[in-house]
Symmetry: C2
Subunit: 354 residues, 2 copies
């Protein structure tokens, strides 16, 4: 598995997040990616490369200019308010919900933090832009490798991306790596790209970015948003809109669901991708479906992830894997690499039987 590793990921290291009315230590930590990298190397699962650099304009197919401008300058703006801020994360505290305007860009920094975010759980730090930006390069590099003929590639990066919208951060996500990969595949000439999101949490950002488009099919298996983050999107009645009607498909499952029901649902999601006649696949690879995850509620076992990888390979599509969630740090490396190894092994079988 060709892997593009975000060598700047640890530049982003949040201190605290709002969780149930209190500030608590962040769940989304650098060790998550370190564990995956170590496991990849241990199993010698292919080449690990740094990302190729892309111009910021490569992000504009997914994110708005004013959001990128904000994100690039946010840390400096925060520290300019008060030099003591250099020692604390920036968190938003007010949001433009119903009846409040999003069209005006306020001067006030807290107001801009709120304008461009959806939660108080995603601290913005000194290195957030550099880490997220290099992560986008990983996703774009993986997409170009696959567009160029590679069977599959893996963007190993954090912060994750699938909750980030066109113009907001949230759910630990700043730039939507999976959306960037899908958009890059489209721009490389693949006409129909499917995104399969198997993170425990619905990828609200990814869904919203492509919701009115027929060329990118988004489908997700996730904890029922009525009880699970991100709460306000990911329901089964969201089928796309406008030209995109019919090109969005959600599979919410109750908290507590195990591999049997999850696996049966995966077959249905893959069936939808086959019916869409996708020419390439982007997998939002979250490992927080694992039974031991501290902020999720499915019960997948470590061995199940090998099976998941094999199933994905059987779809037979050029595939970009993008690392998303998974907060059981001690297990996330083995679980992630099980998916990739399961994929590689099945891909060999596919090829030999072709």
């Amino acid at each position: 598995m060709l892997t593009y590793y975000n060598h700047l990921h640890s530049d982003h290291e949040g201190k605290v997040e709002m969780f149930r009315g209190a500030l608590v230590p962040c769940f989304e930590v650098p060790a998550r990616v370190d564990r995956v990298l170590a496991e990849l190397k241990k199993r010698k699962l292919g080449t690990v490369l740094p990302p190729n650099p892309f111009d910021d304009s490569a992000l504009l197919g997914v994110h708005s200019q004013r959001y990128l401008d904000f994100l690039r300058g946010a840390w400096d703006d925060w520290v300019a308010l008060d030099p003591a801020n250099a020692k604390r994360d920036a968190l938003p505290s007010v949001w433009p919900v119903r009846t409040l305007r999003s069209d005006v860009l306020p001067d006030n920094f807290a107001a801009r933090m709120g304008l461009f975010s959806m939660d108080a759980g995603s601290p913005l730090t000194d290195g957030t832009w550099d880490a997220a930006r290099a992560g986008a390069d990983c996703a774009l590099s993986a997409a170009l490798a696959v567009a160029g003929g590679k069977r599959a590639a893996f963007a190993l990066t954090r912060p994750p991306g699938h909750h980030a919208g066109a113009d907001f951060f949230g759910g630990y996500c700043f730039l939507n790596n999976a959306a960037l990969a899908a958009q890059a595949l489209r721009e490389q000439g693949l006409e129909r790209v499917a995104i399969l999101d198997i993170d425990y949490h619905h990828g609200n950002g990814t869904q919203a970015i492509f919701y009115e488009r027929a060329d990118v099919f988004y489908t997700s298996i996730h904890g029922d948003p009525s009880t699970e983050f991100p709460f306000y999107l990911g329901y089964a009645d969201e089928l796309g809109a406008g030209a995109g009607l019919g090109f969005n498909r959600n599979w919410p499952l109750p908290r507590g669901s195990g591999f049997e029901v999850w696996h049966a649902t995966l077959q249905q999601a893959l069936q939808g991708i086959a019916e869409f006649d996708a020419q390439a696949l982007v997998v939002s690879l979250g490992l927080d479906t694992f039974v031991g995850d501290p902020i999720a509620g499915f019960t997948l076992q470590t061995r199940d992830f090998l099976q998941v990888g094999a199933d994905l390979a059987r779809a037979g599509l050029p595939t970009v894997f993008v690392f998303e969630g998974g907060y059981a740090v001690a297990d996330v490396g083995v679980n992630a690499v099980n998916v990739l190894q399961g994929f590689d092994q099945q891909a060999v079988v596919n090829k030999e039987s072709a």
Copy 2:
């Protein structure tokens, strides 16, 4: 000045609020109202009564049923999650901004907190509902007194109200007392009601509640929202919509503005109310325009508030005063009662010269 005093206001006492990325002690404290009450009694400025009780249905002209249902049960829901929550305030941490849905009511409590709020600065406590509910009774009692022939009445209550929308809390506000008073005046048969908001902060909730109505004219003098809370509403180009076009008028002033410019702007706002031919006036009486306010930026002096009261009396309208912000606790009593006394003194002059 007939005063309806919220005898339950101190049931609402938040511990911490999110402010610039950290949890800090609340600015909106019970002593604010205690000071005003003490000053009213000291100056013997008329009768102080408890509110008359109104049925919850009296709130439905302003707030949605599902919001009221949420707010009434929120504390019990919070404590049911974890008995230890009884000792901490509830604060939201995720919000349905752009592309996220507000039409689905999630089961998750944190999700419902976010669905029905606009910031992380408004802690919900054990007594929030009782205090806000009795405050609404104060506003309704004052409105009915004025509709019944009283020259003026004062709703002395907290938490304040003008940031609360039809279906969200925020900015320390839960039920919109000024909107409830205006709506009650309308239901008592007054055809055109004006709301003048002189709190330092724009009353986004009040504006939004009446934005498409021609029967309630909302006008506000406040700190420029580009730099001041609530940031996402209160700009000069907001003139109303639909049937309400032309019945909303904002007067944002730069942070640092003093009484000279503020007072000239007040004359323009009162001119708008005269042109509207209002039959009654509701004043959102915030005292955070005071130079000593810790979270605001105008420079009004204590003596200026006597002048403000006199100006309001010269409008010659039956007037409901509703207590809103003002966080310079040691001065808020004198400043608030200066407005009321200035009003009463001028009202006598008006009457004698009539």
